[in-house]
Amino acid sequence: MSDTVIPVTTRKDWSSDQEVRWCPGCGDYSILAAVQLLMPDLGIRREDVVFVSGIGCAARFPYYMNTYGMHTIHGRAPAIATGLAMARPDLHVWVVSGDGDALSIGGNHLIHALRRNINITLLLFNNQIYGLTKGQYSPTSEVGKVTKSTPFGSLDHPFNPVSVAIGAEATFVARTHDMDRKHMMEVFRRAFEHRGSSLVEVYQNCNVFNDGAFGEITAKQNRDEMLIPLRHGEPIRFGAEGSRGVVIDGQRGAHIVDVADVGEDALLVHDETRSDPSVAFMLSRLARGPHEPTPVGIFRAVERPEYGEGVSRQLAVAQKERGPGDLETLLRSGATWEVG
């Protein structure tokens, strides 16, 4: 669309005129900032971008972007975005969703979008709570969570969004958090550049209904010890001077060791591109919740045919082989006879 030089833009150009309506202190603000700051760097036009969301606090996101946007219904954004991305391969379709929106009511659409590898960039704001409806537990809340709907503590074992995505054949899966703008921007950029479905779990603080859910690992002073950065091609280590690291063995899966004990060479070298998702899955199991050392970054980024392209290719081939459709001919494709 329009002329070929991409106009230079700033965050302001990507911000809509709508006043942002999240609670003061909500983690959503910093995610919005990261996205708005990243956009000018992506070499794309605002009019070629669509943000699609469901319902929830997170889902208000599109209103704040000066792009095209659809604030749809609870849980259905991945399905709606699938149609849009199939129909319009020229667009950049982003989906913004919450842990309830994406994993509770919308879980099925999510996993099907992932397996189809439809070209969407999906940001899952995981605050481990239902924010907009004022604080019920979510499919990512820890067992025993006391909320309005579980005054005696929840019994439901939570999903690990990264594990779910990998189990659902996702080609790009990553995790970041709302306290580190730089990291968010790096991960969002990679997700955007990936052809196909990319899922980014963003740990997000809901300071009203689930304050501090991720503090143990995302607070500045804890990050070194509690966040395990995944860097492609590098041995996985973390902690002060990278004193700790991750190794894998067949009997015990992935686990954390002191590098001093095993030696650097024993460490697992991170490879985003393994076609077998098993190792990425192992990494997703390292932490059972945001109170153990938790991997952040890109777990998996592999090539697989993108759905929309496949669709377009089938159309092109059909038109090449049979010529563009002709209505006359179609109507006469069955047995016909003349009445004179």
């Binding site: 946007g69 399905a79 099925n108 049979r322 006469r332």
Partner: protein, 627 residues
């Protein structure tokens, strides 16, 4: 009793005949009926068909549950239904005979596959004694033909295995009936070659079986005489035989071509709608995109996403799927985007009778959404009408920027009729204007795009496609501020928007045809009001009633929301208003509420179309009662 008269010389000419083929799900009765239909169509008869098959893929062989039937009426004049009671029943086994004999006309001809009437099969079919011997069939003209063995005998020489050979027996039956009704032979032989091109032995076997059946009719001294049904005097033109689902699919392709919008179908398979998905998925050279979604909600969701992207979005389903789509319909009508929602109605409630027909989704189509959520609703009256109506639905959706519900049903979906092909050049132009510029000036003089700044006539909102510079905008399911489309919780604004949405849909009434009255327009004692697939039966019944000396008017509705502007006046013109429906009185409820006319219902819910005969009686009953 078996008939042994000598064949007459020349075929007896009859004006119409109703033939019903019945056998095991595995016997290929649908194919047989279909083939007989096509050759009759090519021969120039008018006709209508009614396939009638079980919900199971293939119930156990020989059981009543497994019986699959196909009824066709062929005639030398214009007809509108597959007919009531068959004049000829072809029964390939005892179960077929048992389940179907109840429907056939008195003194009908019954052709049975004698080989199939062994004790085990009789038992399976629930016969304790052999109906061919115990007088069950007294009064019918019965031909007992050992089809299996005759077919085997004819085919085995080709070196085909016995079991495979017997598979061709339906072609033997087809050949025999083709002879009886002097159908042309060549089209069928050619078709067999084409259809089984990849399986030459099967093709050959079927050809031989078909010829054997034909020859058997010719030579066996057991047929009283053959019949001939002359071609019908139909309006000049090129004809083809279509099912409603095919016509609908083609209509959607046409709407895409006429509007210049690529077609996008988001659908989830469900009987009896799946064939539309199947048909559309074949036409990729028309730029048709089809998505077999993970469920019905995703199907309509994807279609809506595609619509936002500027495609002609369509979703197809049946009752259970319609129920699931209702929340998304509400979103679509709030977003005011064009979208076609197609419901091929089947027997309900719940899973109900998946392969049977019914008209019981009307009220759901009208009211099955939360909040005030009016949508246009259309209903097709015949298989070929589905083509026209798909285009009309698209016209409304694109002009008024609204989802439109199109109702068909299992009977139209699978039934066929000869269709005089329209002149493509005569089809309406559905060209759409997209927004390309800002349409509103802010107080500060800056120009912006307001997605809900409406067209004053239609009240339709502008449609700006992603990719259009400077028109970036956000839409959603929360109430929107009039004009700007921003989220608004203002009470007065909500009231305005609710009424605008209602007025927009109501206003469509000014742009659709008025209700047309046929029959005894001026002096009818009674007007029959129908909608959808009952058209043929109502038409047939009305003429019968007229023949019995009464004066009857007819109105058949295609547009169910909004209703034609003149409908109230029309109904008040007649002393009696009778509304036949395949439900418990859904349209009549609407008419009563809208016009306060005492509309009386005639209702059937058997999963089958009305027969003209039962409707005739019902109408006569209503004529009895004083208005």
């Amino acid at each position: 009793m078996t008939n042994t008269a000598v064949p007459a010389t020349a075929p007896e000419v009859v004006d119409r005949v109703i033939i019903r083929f019945a056998g095991d799900s595995g016997d290929g009765m649908q194919l047989t009926g279909d083939r007989f239909t096509t050759s009759s169509a090519l021969y120039g008869n008018d006709l209508a068909t009614l396939p009638d098959f079980p919900a199971e893929i293939r119930a156990p062989a020989g059981t009543l549950a497994g019986v699959s039937a196909f009824q066709v009426q062929i005639s030398d004049h214009d007809i509108t239904t597959p007919g009531d009671a068959p004049d000829v029943l072809v029964a390939m086994n005892p179960a077929a005979l048992h389940s179907q004999i109840g429907r056939v006309a008195p003194r009908a001809t019954v052709i049975v596959n004698g080989d199939a009437f062994d004790d085990r099969s009789l038992a399976k079919a629930g016969y304790s004694t052999n109906p061919l011997r115990d007088g069950t069939l007294d009064g019918f003209t019965v031909y007992e033909v050992p089809m299996t063995s005759l077919t085997r005998g004819a085919v085995e020489p080709l070196g085909v295995k016995t079991r495979d050979a017997e598979r061709s027996k339906n072609f033997f039956a087809l050949g025999l009936v083709s002879w009886m009704y002097t159908r042309p032979v060549d089209p069928t032989l050619e078709w067999i070659d084409k259809r089984f091109a990849t399986k030459p032995t099967v093709a050959e076997a079927n050809t031989v079986a078909f010829k054997a059946g034909h020859a058997f009719g010719e030579t066996a001294e057991l047929f009283a005489h053959r019949y001939e049904v002359h071609p019908a005097k139909l309006p000049a033109g090129t004809y083809t035989n279509v099912t409603g689902n095919t016509a609908l699919a083609w209509g959607l392709v046409a709407a895409s071509q006429l509007s210049g919008l690529p077609l996008f179908l988001g659908s989830y398979p469900i009987t009896p709608a799946s064939d539309i998905l199947h048909e559309l998925s074949r036409h990729k050279n028309f730029g048709v995109r089809t998505l077999q979604a993970e469920d019905e909600i995703a199907g309509i969701g994807a279609a809506l996403g595609a619509a936002y992207g500027g495609h002609l979005g369509v979703t197809t389903t049946s009752g259970p799927g319609m129920a699931l789509k209702s929340e998304t319909m509400g979103l679509a009508l709030n977003l005011e985007l064009p979208l076609l929602i197609i419901d091929i109605q089947r027997g309900g409630p719940s899973t109900g009778l998946p392969t049977k027909t019914e008209q019981a989704d009307l009220l759901m189509a009208l009211y099955g959404r939360h909040g005030e959520s009016p949508l246009p609703v259309l209903a097709a009256r015949s298989p070929s009408h589905c083509f026209e109506l798909a285009i009309e639905a698209a016209r409304i959706a694109l002009t008024w920027r609204t989802p439109v519900i199109l109702l068909s049903d299992g009977y139209l979906a699978n039934g066929t009729e000869p269709w005089r092909l329209p002149d493509v050049a005569s089809l309406p132009d559905l060209h759409v204007e997209f927004a390309t510029e800002p349409n509103h000036m802010n107080p500060d003089g800056s120009e912006v795009f307001w997605p809900y700044e409406r067209d004053p006539d239609t009240l339709a909102r502008p449609w700006a496609l992603p990719g259009t510079p400077d028109l970036m905008h956000r839409i959603g399911g929360l109430e929107k501020e009039e004009g700007s489309g921003n989220v608004s919780y203002d009470p007065a604004n909500h009231e305005r928007m609710v009424r605008i949405r209602a007025a927009k849909i109501a206003g469509i009434a000014d742009h659709i045809p008025e209700a047309e009255v046929t029959g005894d327009v001026d002096d009818a004692e009674l007007v029959v009001v129908g909608w959808g697939s009952t058209w043929g039966a109502i038409d047939g019944a009305a003429s019968r009633v007229r023949r019995s000396g009464h004066r009857v008017a007819q109105v058949h509705l295609t547009h169910l929301n909004p209703l034609p502007r003149n409908l109230g006046d029309v109904l008040r013109r007649y002393p009696r208003v009778v509304v036949p429906e395949l439900n418990l009185g859904q349209l009549s409820r609407e008419l009563r509420a809208e016009y306060l006319v005492d509309a009386r219902s005639v209702t059937r819910v058997r999963g089958l179309p009305f027969t003209a005969a039962e409707l005739e009686l019902a109408i006569l009953d209503h004529l009895e009662v004083a208005p």
